[in-house]
């Protein structure tokens, strides 16, 4: 877990703080700094056959499924070797081979998509489930409502995981919803709505695991809300001056990676050596991936004409 959290952090830092500023990545860049425990904890125990419907701060899911840092960087840099071969950018990627369902920008659209993924499992009597991520802001979308309702009425094996990082772009929670918790809405669909500390990877893992078992056992969908904080601007160009400094300070002390390190150290699961080794490995991996991806070729211009329809 620690490894994937660190790898995600390092890779995203490199993307946001270096490559983007160097002009090597164009367009929007969204990272999940401070929220890594959510994706890592939620995907921890999934079977490779379980589908993951990612959102825009879930890079860890790709790494955990074996998509390489190089492939991810190539994606961000618009290279042919990215998962979308340059057709789309940044986190707008997916891979059926890895059961990773690409999201589209329209927030909330994945919620009913996940219902359909889950439905397909149920109809065929398969034991798979799907985990679907979304942000607090996405919960205002109509498709979010239709999707949760559909999943609950059709008893689809889906676990909806909310990354509640307190903001949607510049808009704080209380201007998005008149309830305190996103999970307060789960009852509107007759589904359990757990609330966990999203910066505690073990808590996330356990809560999602319970929900996954429930779904796998035919108990239908659930929601798990993970409270966390967006430790960056909305995207790389946003300095987040609308966020009170104290909030950043408060949450900085609760950094999920530091916390996991501390508790592993306390449990004697992590020696300084092991930690240094892991840190070194992560940096080296990302260094190498940057090197490789940066030398990866751009797609041919005319490639943009291909692949709109099935090509046999």
């Amino acid at each position: 877990m620690l490894y994937y959290m660190k790898l995600t952090r390092e890779l995203e830092d490199r993307i946001e703080r270096k490559l983007y500023r160097q002009g090597k990545i164009l367009g929007g860049v969204y990272v999940g700094r401070g929220q890594e425990a959510i994706t890592v904890g939620a995907c921890m125990d999934l079977d490779g056959n379980d589908a993951i419907c990612v959102s825009h701060r879930d890079m860890a899911a790709f790494l955990m499924r074996g998509v390489t840092p190089r492939q991810i960087l190539a994606q961000y840099m618009g290279r042919k070797t990215g998962l979308t071969r340059g057709k789309d950018g940044n986190m707008h990627m997916g891979s059926l081979d890895h059961n990773l369902i690409a999201f589209i920008s329209m927030l909330g659209d994945s919620i009913p998509i996940a219902a359909g993924v889950g439905l397909s499992y149920r109809l065929r009597g398969m034991k798979q489930v799907t985990v679907c991520f979304f942000g607090d802001g996405a919960s205002s979308r109509g498709d979010w409502h239709e999707g949760l309702n559909m999943a609950s009425v059709l008893k689809c094996p889906v676990v909806y995981v909310c990354n509640n990082n307190q903001y949607a772009y510049s808009t704080p929670l209380e201007q998005q919803m008149a309830v305190e918790n996103v999970a307060d809405r789960a009852s509107a669909y007759g589904m359990p709505g757990d609330i966990v500390d999203g910066n505690d990877v073990v808590a996330v893992w356990q809560a999602v695991n319970r929900a996954v078992e429930r779904a796998r056992g035919g108990g239908g969908p659930s929601m798990v809300e993970c409270k966390s904080f967006r430790m960056t601007g909305h995207s790389a160009h946003d300095d987040a001056r609308y966020v009170p400094k104290e909030l950043f300070e408060y949450w900085e002390k609760r950094d999920p990676i530091t916390r996991l390190e501390t508790s592993m150290r306390d449990l004697g699961d992590l020696t300084e050596n092991k930690l240094a080794e892991m840190n070194g490995r992560v940096v080296a991996e990302v260094d190498e991936a940057v090197e490789l991806a940066d030398n990866d070729p751009y797609p041919d211009p005319e490639d943009c004409l291909t692949g709109v329809y099935f090509e046999g």
């Binding site: 219902a115 498709d143 059709l154």
Partner: protein, 324 residues
């Protein structure tokens, strides 16, 4: 064998595909117990069971998205919009999710979204629309508008087998008014192929859906005057059959573009652009459009009749063009 109506033809087409391909299932509002508002899916619940014929809440966007999710996982969902008008509520999922998945990351989305479109039944502004152009302008989709029972069956079967998302507009005016004898054996009508419904030498009328019959009726009327219309039924709008259209124009040298959808931004524009670019030298007269005017579909019978293109409109314009 007896005659099969347009609505029965669609039902048969779906049933046959469900029988031969267990990935195919049907979902939508009131499609199971009730058999669909227009009874397209009548009897399917009894035949295939509730895992393959699924009543859903009133959630057009959710229905389409659920279909997309299942399709990505290997199923072949056929989603009903109770009226095609309500496809507006699923516009985002269709045009942004379904249409772009394959292009972006190679994920095929073999869904069919089908529903009754078109006017002539006094349905008013929200039960009579012809929304095809919203989807024809969206790369990644396919759009089908059958006119005959034979085509309705052959095209729905082709649509279900197609690896890409197909929007299938049934014309509700034709559901029970059009019937014909259908072959017993399995057949499909390939997407993207037009049909010459009537060969003629003077003027090409290019049309689709319920307007095919208006064109044919006009042709019959004009025959007596010695004006010989060629009537082309496009059947598919995306992709559409340029070859058949351009060949016809090159033969007749005069063109009428006819559709029930409103004028501005309608399919006739696309046809006109291609013809004026690729068959310019063959044109012996202006390209004439006959369409509904740019208004919502009115409810009251005299207004709706005025709104819809009539046989007399085709006759009048054909005469003018013939004299040109």
């Amino acid at each position: 064998m007896g005659l099969t109506t347009y609505v029965e033809a669609i039902r048969e087409g779906i049933r046959e595909e469900m029988s031969t391909d267990e990935r195919v299932f049907v979902l939508g509002e009131d499609v199971a117990v009730y058999g669909g508002a227009f009874k397209v899916t009548a009897g399917m619940l009894e035949e295939f069971g509730e895992n393959r014929v699924i009543d859903t809440p009133i959630s057009e966007s959710g229905i389409v998205a659920t279909a997309i999710g299942a399709a990505m996982m290997g199923m072949r969902p056929v989603a009903e919009m109770q009226f095609a008008d309500f496809i507006s509520c699923a516009f985002d999922q269709i045009t942004n999710f379904a249409a772009k998945c394959r292009y972006r990351w190679g994920a095929g989305v073999p869904i069919v979204v089908r529903g009754p479109s078109g006017g002539g039944i006094h349905g008013g502004p929200f039960h009579s629309q012809n929304p095809e152009m919203y989807f024809v302008h969206t790369p990644g989709l396919k759009v089908v508008c059958p006119a005959t029972a034979y085509d309705a069956k052959g095209l729905i079967k082709a649509a279900i087998r197609d690896p890409d998302p197909v929007i299938f507009f049934e014309h509700k005016f034709l559901y029970r008014r059009v019937k014909e004898e259908l072959p017993g054996a399995d057949y499909v009508v390939p997407l993207g192929e037009a049909e010459v419904r009537r060969a003629g030498s003077d003027i090409s009328v290019i049309t689709y859906g319920a307007m095919v019959f208006r064109a044919l009726d006009a042709a019959k009327e004009l025959e007596r005057e010695g004006i010989d219309l060629e009537v082309i039924d496009l059947r598919s709008l995306l992709p559409w059959d340029r070859h058949t259209v351009l060949e016809s124009v090159k033969k007749t040298n005069k063109v009428i573009l006819l559709h029930e959808a409103t004028r501005t931004g309608g399919f006739a524009g696309e046809l006109a652009a291609v013809i004026a670019e690729e068959a310019f030298e063959h044109l012996d007269g202006p390209i004439r459009r006959i369409t509904a005017p740019d208004t919502p579909v009115p409810y009251s019978p005299p207004m709706e009749e005025f709104f819809l293109p009539q046989v007399s409109d085709v006759v009048r314009v054909a005469r003018e063009l013939n004299d040109y």
